[in-house]
Structure formats: structure tokens, C-alpha cells
Symmetry: none
Subunit: 293 residues, 2 copies
Amino acid sequence: MTDRAAADGFEDWLRDRVPERGLRPKAAAVLEVLLTQPRRASFGSTVELAQLAGVNIATVTRTAQALGFAGWPALQQELRARYLSSLSAPQVAAEHHGVGSPGAASLRRDLDSLAVLNRRFDESVVATIAHAVAEARRTIVIADGSYAAVGIALAHNARLAGYDVLAVTAGDAELANAVASLDSRDVLIAISFWRLYESTVLAANEARSRGARVFAVTDAASPALAGAAEEIVLVPAEGVAFFPSLTAGMAVAQAVVAQLATVDPARTAASIEAAEAMWSKFGLLHRRPTQGT
Amino acid sequence: MTDRAAADGFEDWLRDRVPERGLRPKAAAVLEVLLTQPRRASFGSTVELAQLAGVNIATVTRTAQALGFAGWPALQQELRARYLSSLSAPQVAAEHHGVGSPGAASLRRDLDSLAVLNRRFDESVVATIAHAVAEARRTIVIADGSYAAVGIALAHNARLAGYDVLAVTAGDAELANAVASLDSRDVLIAISFWRLYESTVLAANEARSRGARVFAVTDAASPALAGAAEEIVLVPAEGVAFFPSLTAGMAVAQAVVAQLATVDPARTAASIEAAEAMWSKFGLLHRRPTQGT
DNA sequence: ACAGATCCGCAAGAGTCTTTGCATTTCTGT
DNA sequence: ACAGAAATGCAAAGACTCTTGCGGATCTGT
């Protein structure tokens, strides 16, 4: 792994504290959370960390002690210092400006796009969409071409949050069937970019005429979609290569789900819990988040 | 302490909370500490802040309330979000909208994550992966759970660029078949987050033992995957809700494809042209790139 | 200088967080 | 499969934090 050099001494530093014997399973789960969610770990209490790692709060304290600290507060203090410096220190390294690989250029472009998106962002639109989904009987997400990925992500996480959201990406036949079942209790979200697929526009108009609420996520306010959609979220999608970038669209999908998850927190919490139980039951996870049986 | 520069981000924001009447002397002293020592303010307790400002702890609470917050914890939470943002994305001055909705918070978090990713980014790793894909007979992308979306995007765009890249997300049976066909001429890219799906790890190890080149995109350097992978790309995936954020992972996928598209520009150009011709022929696009009918 | 109002510190009360002893479950080697 | 050891969850105890009522101190306008 070549992240070493440029990286946070953060991860290396933390892994170096692991005692010879290694860590027990649950302690390893806690360590994993420390590494993957340093922000929360820096601020959170033992209760929050325990929930994230799927362990008892006592295990959090014991893990901190196993890593050579007096307790959680002591570890957390070090964590803060390391994490904050990892945020600000390599600032200099970001000045690659001059030349760079296409990969690096793509990343910088995405960063810019996200900054633009953030600046133009209208919370109320996302809130409207989230509420519409929450109130709907069901939601259909149509997304063609490469944007199918964004639609799948949106639908997947929304389902995890406890709502009936289906991504339709398999082609016109499935699309036709899905739209045929829509009525005024439903919501349709069309995700599409510049060169709109014909069927997306057709589906949006058809859904609208059936009384469903229609929203669009796109990179250009096309009149065709504007006519059908109640609200439109504009995302910058310019990529460095021929391909439009999906990164900003994905960020919008995440924002919608984040908003959706707070509409009915109890419902979402129950749904997630049920999903975790299923994962455990099916043995899907490499490291189980077991709450203790 | 060089916190000065970093403070610029939220200085205006914080000053805007000051009520018409202005602040009393001691409250102003507290505010001064917040502005000049944001780091300590973000983490410290009322006791620490009171000492720094030379006031009583009660004054700290009252100052927070005078600024329009329920109390010190509420103010501190806002402070943290602003301060961390100013650390990781100082070039972005998007302080207009408040920390308000979860949707907006999600977006900002993604922006931070991307900034961190950009900083830690190692071009050579992405270049290695791109070249491996370009030289391979075929490439299999395995991605489970919500990360399937990233895998689908990567495979889709890579195919568009003219390479045989297949995303396997449909389940263990398909995964087993796909891995069974791998040999030393092939590449496998595993995309997964910390709670690795069991089958992802199995597939990666199996592919490795069959001689395929294996790469991983993940949010934690898990020993399980590290053993199988030639290179690992670490992406920050911390989201605001329960769900990990896919945005940074998507940015990496875009970067890989952007890099891949430049390995053999002629091949990619020909592939795109062919794809466009097909789209036209099938009448897929709402607005044709060539000319509208 | 005085009266009224405001500000500020003190201290108590309610709540939260962290640690640790104990019991149960899970793992390991024979 | 069994016995010992390790790990983990539960729950209580102790420490700390935040808020708020109250009284003394300071300021302002006359």
C-alpha cells in the first residue's frame, strides 16, 4: 500500500498500539470504527462508539485500555490531536497543481463540482423530495446509462431506511411495467444527465399524467424534464474524460437519503436493526456486528 | 497557535449570531476565545472554556444561549462542524446556508471526505490499476451491498472506454461463476467497506490464488483484504446517517476510468464512437448528439 | 451620589459519561 | 466432548458536566 507516505500517521500510529497478542474480535471492531470514522470517534462518547461498533460500552473502554491508554477519554484525546493534524498537515501536498495524472485531475474536478453543488444547494428541494418519498406508497427511481449507479445507490439506502423505493434500470420493458403501476400515491424520481434517454422522459411524463409526484436529478434543466417534474435538482456532472462524472449526483443521492432517514427516525432505526439482524442470520458479514446473542 | 487562519471560515458565521444589543463584557471574552481558539472550543468543556476566558462556567452557558443556542453543547456541536470544515476544505467558502438540514450536512460531509481523499490521493495506485485493467483480458468488479452502485458505475464507464469490465453484484452464485473463470490474464477489483461481506473476501482470495491481479477499494485496510490485494485504495466513507457515504468511492471509480481512458486513447475513442452510433440507431437519446429529428 | 437595572459568580441539582466487579457466553486445547 | 480460560455483556458506582436560581457587584442615567 502506497498510502503510507502521504498518509496520516494516524492509521499507522494507531495500529502500532495494538499489543503483541493482537485484539479480540470485538476490540478489533472498535478499532475499525476508530480508523474508518475518526471524526465521530474524536467527538463521540463511549455510547456512540459502542453502537457504531456493535459492542457493549464496556468493550470500548477495555479496548482503549488494551491499546495502552488509561481509558476512553485518554485515547480520544490522542485521537483528536492525530486526526486534526491529519486534516490540516498534508495541506501542502494538495498543491500538485501543475501537472498530474488524469486520475488526479478527475478527483480535483469532482472536488470542484461538489463545491459548486454545495454552494448552489437548496435544502428545501431535498427536503421536499425526502418528505414526498416518506409519504408515498412507493417510489420508483428511473436512471439510465451510467446514472443507473446513482439510482441503485439511492434506492438501496432508502430501502435500508425503511421505505419502499425501487430502482428501475434494466430496460424499457421493466420501465414500462413499473410506470404502469404508478398512481397519485406514488413518487417517481428521474435521474438523468445531459443526453437524456428518450424513455426517461416518456416515463416521467406518463407518471405525471397518472398523478404521481415527479422529481428530477439532472445536470441541465432540459425543458422536456422540467415540464414533468415538480422540482429539479441540478448537479454539475462535467468530467475530465468523455464521461460525465457521477460523483456529484451520488452526493445528492446521499443527501436525499440522509434527509429521508430523519423524517421518521423510529421507522428508520427499526428498519436498520432488522436489516442487521438479517445480515447476521445469513452470515453475510466478514465481521459480524453482533450485539451478543 | 496558528488557528487564526483556520478560524476565518466560521468567524463571520459566529459574529452573525451576536444579538442586536451586543454582548456583555464577559460574554465578549468568551466569544473571543471561541474565535481565537476554535480547536479547544470544539473539544473543551465549559470548565476549560471558562478558564480560558477568565469567567465563570455559568457565563459560558449563558453566552451560548445569548448566541441563540440551547446551551453550550448545542453551540459546541455547530462549532465542531464549522471548524472541521474549515480545516479540510479551506478553499471552499460556502458558509451561506446554516448547518440546518441533514441533506446539507451530508453534502458538506462528502465535500470534506473528498478533500481528504484528494490530499491522500496516490496517483500511482490509480495508474497501476488502470494499466492492469487495460492489459487484462477481462476485469471483474465485485461489489456488494450499497457499494454495488460504485462497482456498476466503474464497470459501465470502463466498458464505454472499450474494455471488458464486468460488475458482479447479483449474489454469490453469479460471483462464484465469475471467479471460476478467472486466470492470470485477468484482473479483479473488490469494492467494499469495512463490514466486508464474507463472499467478497473469499472471492478476492480465490482470484489471487488463480493468478489474477487483485485490487481493492475500501474504507479500511482490513487484513483480510490486504492479504489478497496487490494495491488498496482507501476512501473515507463516513456519512452523516447510519449509511456509509458512497460519494468518495464514486470519485475513485471516476478517477480510475479517467485514467483508463488515456491509456489507449484510440481504442477508447473508437469505443465511444461505436457506442454513440448504437445509441443513435436505437433512438435512445432524447436529444441526439448529431442532430435532432 | 443615588436608584434602578443589568451583569456575573456561587452553588446546588439533574443528568450523562466512564469505569469496574460480576455473571454468562464463547473459544481452545486435550 | 469436556474443562479451563478468555471474552463479552450487564449493571452499579463514582466522577464529571451543564443548567439555573439566587445574591452580591457593577454600570447608567438623573
